[in-house]
């Protein structure tokens, strides 16, 4: 026999300030969430609502070693970055053959840009509403001319990135050695860490010479693949496993697919001359497998609960200044023994 209690949590009730509301830290001392001596507690996520400002590929909180120092070590997980070289060249590739540019993502505190931004670095805030065209447009604006375009085909079936068609002076190499893998994959580029030669870490697009044919990324772009789920990591003690980093135990309460609900429609005031950025939306998750997803927890009393939003690598995800909400269900199961 079991008794259930539902717990309705909002980050607006946080007892401490966290980076971009990624952690919900709630004092539940008055709720008396405790089990009796012959009971065990279990918990499951019932529902969650998350704003569309969630930073899909994770927050950048680490400074790049490569931007200023040409350090080609793979970026840390807390650095979301894309590097590419621009310009045609003759012979083998080296980093002096092209001008190297960097795009960091979700560096809200300007860890990389700093007070004196390098002129080969820009930042873009990538949220659940971001499209690849948004990012491409931002990079083109940063470079001061149209460099990249999306190659979609008449039926939209190709979905690859290249330089502007017909402009045979444009040649770009995406650089896998100093870019984040999940971002390379989202762009349809080669990724990884095994590069027997310099050419193995390059994903060329555009025209290698004035007479060459146009090259596109080898794989289709798929922006959501940068991170398709948000994981809820808690301070509750239970067994769960995540495959990242050769596998590890982590207190993952649930994963929520980043599937958006178009939540806001309505009147549009006539004098407004705004760009079309789509309707407002948010992520509303309902756990339809509630009874099967209850996890026994080791605590017998919960006076404080912490829930952190992390990506598939355990990197904190940000929400800007927006709040998020969730409902948990606790079961108190009486031992039959």
């Amino acid at each position: 026999m079991s008794v259930t209690r539902r717990v309705y949590l909002s980050s607006s009730d946080n007892q401490s300030v966290s980076t971009q509301n990624s952690v919900m830290d709630i004092n539940l001392a008055a709720a008396d969430l405790s089990s009796k001596p012959n009971e065990m507690m279990s918990v499951s996520l019932v529902r969650a609502s998350i704003p569309d400002t969630i930073t899909t590929p994770g927050l950048t909180t680490t400074r790049s070693r490569g931007v200023l120092n040409f350090d080609t070590r793979k970026p840390e997980d807390t650095l979301q970055i894309l590097a590419f070289g621009l310009g045609q060249y003759i012979g083998d590739w080296s980093e002096t053959q092209q001008t190297i540019y960097y795009v960091t993502f979700n560096d809200f505190d300007n860890v990389n840009l700093g007070a004196f931004p390098p002129n080969n670095l820009t930042n873009y805030n990538w949220t659940a509403n971001t499209t690849l065209l948004d990012i491409i447009t931002h990079i083109n604006n940063f470079l001061g001319m149209d460099i990249f375009e999306l190659v979609n085909g008449e039926d939209g079936e190709i979905r690859r990135i290249s330089t502007i068609e017909g402009v045979t002076s444009l040649y770009v190499n995406f650089l896998a050695d100093r870019s984040s893998d999940h971002i390379l994959k989202a762009f349809g580029c080669k990724s990884g860490t095994d590069f027997p030669s310099a050419a193995d870490m390059l994903t060329p697009v555009g025209y290698s010479s004035a007479t060459a044919t146009q090259v596109t990324t080898p794989f289709q772009y798929n922006l959501p693949s940068a991170n398709m789920n948000v994981f809820l990591r808690t301070n509750l003690g239970f067994d769960s496993f995540i495959s990242y980093d050769d596998g590890q135990n982590a207190n993952i309460l649930a994963s929520i697919p980043l599937v958006q609900s178009n939540s806001v429609t309505g009147t549009h005031l006539q004098s407004s001359d705004l760009p079309t950025i789509g309707v407002s939306s948010q992520i509303n998750y309902v756990n339809f497998a509630l009874s099967g997803s209850h996890k026994p927890i080791t605590q017998d009393r919960i006076a404080n609960i912490e829930i952190e939003l992390v990506d598939k690598r355990g990197v904190p995800m940000g929400l800007g200044v927006a709040d998020w909400d969730c409902v948990l269900e606790f079961k108190f199961v009486t031992s039959l023994g």
Binding site: R5, R6, D52, G266, L274, Q282, D323
Partner: protein, 241 residues
């Protein structure tokens, strides 16, 4: 163990107001004496919300005639309006009290009452701000506010202050920041995020809310906001199912 279930189909038109504003159907009482809901000895009553349908006219921010939700300054104005003077927008649920969003040569326009319901998204909110700014001017000018590619509110020369906490989050303003007034693009993106509607009752439940250290125990359910359009015109007929 045997159990019986009774489904209650409730509509606020059949309810009476639970004190307060008699026109506000958000807080009502249903007379259920004819249903005969009673637990016989040895039985327990349980309750659950199955589904709910709500109109978009539900106010997404609490009505507040005392404290403006937005206070900002416009860099330009035509007399009798004054550049740099506080412009106040109050969010209230009574549409008939909406301010007049047009310029007047005889009347200073710096206080507005606006309906802020669930149909207001980022574009609508920024559109409203731009309308208010235009109402300061005798001849139309380029919109003061815009939304950038990455969803951040931008513009030049504006300054917000004394923002309602909910409104500051919608605009992307960090209330923890020491910058009370911001004149350029904001740091964080705008959001139309709507927290779930909490349904509370007078029933003795064992639920827990995160407010006040978990002491609230009368929450029957929460309803995520996901509006659906009930006809094809995208008009005011959307519902929250």
């Amino acid at each position: 163990m045997s159990q019986n279930t009774i489904r209650l189909h409730l509509n606020t038109k059949d309810a009476s107001p639970n004190g307060g504003d008699v026109n506000n159907n958000a807080d009502v009482v249903f007379d259920l004496r004819k249903v005969g809901i009673e637990a016989s000895p040895g039985k327990l009553l349980t309750v659950s919300l199955i589904k709910a349908t709500l109109p978009t006219t539900l106010t997404a921010l609490a009505n507040d005639y005392e404290n403006p939700a937005i206070v900002f300054q416009s860099p330009n104005a035509t007399a009798p309006n004054v550049a740099g003077e506080d412009i106040k927008i109050y969010c209230v649920g009574d549409k008939s009290s909406s301010g007049n969003f047009t310029y007047s040569a005889t009347e200073k326009r710096n206080v507005y009452y606006a309906m802020y319901d669930y149909s207001i998204g980022n574009q609508q909110l920024v559109g409203m701000l731009n309308e208010v700014v235009q109402a300061q001017l005798s001849t139309p000018a380029t919109d003061l506010f815009d939304i950038g590619l990455d969803g951040r509110l931008g513009g030049a020369g504006f300054g917000f202050k004394n923002l309602n906490n909910n409104m500051s989050k919608r605009l992307g303003i960090d209330v923890q920041s020491s910058d009370a007034i911001q004149f350029t693009s904001l740091k964080y993106p705008m959001t139309a995020y709507q927290e779930p509607i909490i349904v509370t009752t007078n029933l003795n439940l064992n639920s827990v809310g995160s407010r006040d250290k978990g002491s609230q125990s009368n929450i029957l359910s929460s309803i995520p906001i996901n509006m659906e359009v009930t006809n094809s015109s995208f008009s005011q007929t959307a519902v929250i199912p």
